[in-house]
């Protein structure tokens, strides 16, 4: 038995081992659906979370929720279905499922035997509070005296950018690492961001980076002795706060204050002193969940300046003095020249769609103004995609080769078995050879022994 097999392209659905595992970046919806119902119910007790969840819903679902927000009885399912056009009934099914999965609405029977939908009482009450007022103020918003050393938006932006850069530098293990405390290092430990997925992480846009990072953090929050609901609530309060405004730490529990210190470490909030009694949220913390709205900058905000120019002749110019950015570009480009300010590189692809995303995200202002609409030259985008297709023609997977069967019948039986259990990667009737994947090898071997004994 040989130990390597090559699968043909129509069997890509089998386990793909040598390909780099893709960095999984869940959105809020994926995150929440993995939580049990009672946790969700507890979370829905906070208006902030209801607001965040509402914003993450698909557009149609948002319309449904707002339509029945002020309706006290269950609404017949048939009525809800009649709100949408027939042509979009698939989408209707999808959003109904999303709403049920998040326990935003539940099935309820209406007198007369009809099935209806009713919004979760907790969710409804707290969404109304967020929208119309009432209830208790959020923990961090109690009144403060004016700050005599108030910080403006520009300062906060500079601060958060610098902190986040520090975090990234730490992850790539670059020389310029300073200002990362021992406590923060403990957070990184055991999180996959420093492994080979780390580079994929670096290619994400900043908002997605922060969100991914926060998810990593939240997974370990309970081991750290912090309350998940409390932290999530605080995080969303932060994400719904106003940039350039100061908030009070009064009334926050000691555990939450620790959490705040961690956030401060990563530049999500600014605090002058540990015991300052007030903090400023930075742009990193705002709208933390809207990670899927890539490339959309909110009006009136100045975004970090792009530094990359891509030419149709596949040359990439980077206007930067940051080693990190150069190192990142070096991942998928060959460095040709390096001037004090400009890096010229010719590409020789490694990654994929992420390259395009990264280049678009950091495109130089000059490129954004081009008349074609997209920032990158279409030839380059096409070429990158072609390169990717070429590389992905072959899919590698570990397997075990079975050959030299004595009879066609034996071969057929074993092949049937491997196929039905989903182990089969490749088989050839004429040569009586087949390849099963490694995890199935023992199982198939056992089966074969049993089978040959039986005969």
């Amino acid at each position: 038995m040989a130990d390597n097999g090559i699968s043909s392209s129509n069997q890509v659905n089998n386990s793909v081992l040598i390909q780099p595992t893709n960095l999984e970046c869940k959105n809020l919806y994926d995150y929440l659906t993995t939580r049990p119902q009672n946790v969700l119910e507890k979370l829905y007790n906070r208006p902030t979370i209801c607001l965040a969840v509402y914003r993450e819903l698909p557009e149609l679902a948002r319309q449904y929720v707002i339509r029945i927000l002020f309706v006290e009885q269950p609404v017949p399912q048939a009525v809800v279905a009649s709100w949408g056009h027939q042509a979009f009934s698939k989408e209707h099914m999808y959003v109904s499922k999303v709403l049920s999965n998040l326990y935003v609405w539940q099935e309820a029977s209406i007198p007369g035997g009809l099935q209806g939908w009713i919004l979760s009482a907790t969710f409804k009450r707290n969404l109304k509070i967020a929208l119309l007022g009432g209830g208790k103020p959020w923990s961090m918003s109690s009144a403060l005296d004016p700050d005599n050393k108030a910080r403006d938006v520009a300062f906060l932006d500079g601060y958060s950018a610098e902190r986040w850069e520090c975090v990234l530098h730490y992850m790539v293990g670059s020389q310029q690492q300073e200002g990362i405390s021992a406590d923060a290092v403990r957070i990184f430990d055991g999180s996959p961001v420093i492994t080979r997925q780390g580079f994929q992480f670096l290619l994400l846009d900043r908002q997605a980076q922060v969100w991914h990072f926060v998810l990593q953090y939240l997974d370990t929050v309970e081991q750290r002795g912090l309350d998940l609901a409390e932290c999530l609530t605080f995080l969303f309060q932060l994400s719904f706060s106003t940039l350039g405004k100061d908030y009070s730490t009064e009334g926050m529990s000691p555990r939450l204050l620790i959490f705040l210190q961690h956030l401060r470490e990563f530049g999500l909030v600014y605090q002058r002193k540990r015991k300052a009694g007030r903090f400023y949220p930075t742009r990193l913390a705002l709208n933390i969940t809207s990670s899927q709205n890539k490339g959309i900058q909110v009006l009136e905000e100045d975004v970090p300046k792009g530094y990359i120019v891509v030419e149709t002749n596949y040359r990439v110019y980077a206007y930067t003095d940051s080693n990190l950015q150069v190192a990142l570009l070096g991942l998928f480009t060959d460095l040709l020249y390096r001037f004090p300010d400009v890096v010229v590189a010719l590409r020789g692809g490694i990654t994929a769609e992420q390259i395009i995303g990264y280049l678009t995200q950091h495109a130089h202002l000059q490129m954004l103004q081009s008349e074609t609409g997209s920032a990158l030259p279409p030839t380059v985008v096409d070429q990158i995609k072609l390169w990717e297709l070429e590389r992905n023609r072959l899919v590698y997977s570990d397997g075990v080769l079975y050959s030299q069967f004595l009879s066609q019948a034996d071969f057929n039986v074993l092949r049937e078995y491997a196929q039905s259990s989903g182990y089969l990667i490749w088989s050839n009737k004429e040569k009586r050879t087949m390849v099963v994947n490694k995890s199935g090898h023992d199982d198939v071997k056992k089966f074969w022994k049993r089978y040959s004994k039986g005969n």
Binding site: D30, T33, T34, P47, T48, L51, Y54, R55, P58, E59, L60, R62, Q63, I66, R67, L69, F70, S82, W83, G84, H85, A87, K90, E91, Y94, K97, V98, N101, I129, A130, L131, L132, G133, G134, G135, K136, P137, W138, S141, S142, A143, F240, T242, N287, S290, Q292, N293, G295, I296, Q297, V298, L299, E300, E301, D302, V303, L365, L368, Q369, A375
Partner: protein
């Protein structure tokens, strides 16, 4: 764990709506409106409903933008965002800070506006003027927005006053400007049927709704006017009624079915006049037969 993924076509659909949408609400606050004269408290109800609706718009997406205007008989003004320094608002209850800011700013500015109002009532509101101000505002935002992002703008008019043919020309100008700028005009009529504004909705692909009951204003607003134009295609909304496309004559400002049109400048008159008042072209006095040829059916 349950994973349901939208299909590819759907996720494209979702991303196509991921743009900044700007909503400008024009609220008719003219105290001369019949519904307000009958019961001044109606205004409070309308303002509350409009604020709740405005906040629902902001709640949809974090990048949604909002402006609210008050339209009076002699002037129109922006009540949100405020032209002065924004109020420093601290949370007083569980409401989202920005929503509190919207509510407080609108109420404060409206109070100022109504206090300054003269006691002479005039039952006509300058809706056309307000819409053109809104268009200017949209234009300004469009110019200052960062490169590479898309702005979808729409205007919602909430009014209880009638539409007078006196503003016919201004109405038509703003409607066609809006159409050219891809701005959708929606109209929510509280009291009377508004045939001119209905034409505007039809021209700009907006929605027109005369609400049957004032008590349900918020619910009507949320049902019909909250969805953005792309999502409207997927929802079943009130079917468009037949639009009355009558024009107003330039001489008496009355709606006419059949009238006279100046062959040079296309001005409309309900009676024959030998000199066009708009472009001063001189026409010969028609003979009894020629009258017929001068008559033209008014259809746009």
């Amino acid at each position: 764990m349950t994973t349901i993924e939208p299909e590819d076509s759907k996720s494209n659909d979702f991303s196509s709506t991921d743009e900044i949408s700007l909503l400008i609400i024009i609220l008719d606050t003219n105290p001369g409106q019949i519904i307000l004269r009958d019961n001044p408290h109606t205004l409070t109800q309308c303002v509350d409903s409009v604020i709740a609706f405005a906040n629902s718009h902001l709640m949809q997406k974090s990048q949604n933008k909002l402006a609210v205007m008050a339209c009076h008989s002699k002037s129109s003004e922006f009540v949100f965002p405020s032209s002065q320094k924004p109020l420093d608002v601290r949370q007083i209850d569980g409401q989202y800070e920005i929503f509190t800011l919207v509510e407080k700013t609108i109420k404060a500015n409206l109070t100022k506006l109504i206090a300054a109002e003269s006691t002479v009532l005039c039952n006509e509101s300058l809706l056309a003027g307000a819409i053109s101000m809104a268009l200017c505002y949209i234009h300004r935002i469009q110019k200052t927005k960062p490169v590479g992002c898309k702005l979808n703008s729409r205007i919602l008019v909430v009014t209880g006053s009638g539409d007078s043919a006196f503003q016919y020309m201004s109405y038509m100008n703003v409607f066609f400007t809006a159409q050219k700028q891809n701005v959708v005009i929606d109209v929510c009529a509280l009291d009377q049927h508004l045939s001119l504004l209905q034409q505007g909705c039809d021209i700009t692909n907006g929605l027109y709704l005369k609400i049957p009951q004032l008590q349900g204003l918020l619910q009507y607003l949320l049902w019909v006017f909250l969805p953005e134009p792309p999502i409207r295609l997927k929802l079943v909304l009130p079917p468009p009624v037949k639009v009355d496309y009558r024009a107003a004559c330039f001489c008496h400002r009355e709606m006419v079915d059949v009238g006279y049109v100046c062959s040079v400048c296309l001005s409309i008159f309900c009676k024959f006049s030998p000199i066009c008042t708009t472009c001063h072209t001189v026409f010969k006095m028609p003979g009894p037969l020629a009258v017929k040829s001068k008559k033209k059916k008014m259809k746009l």
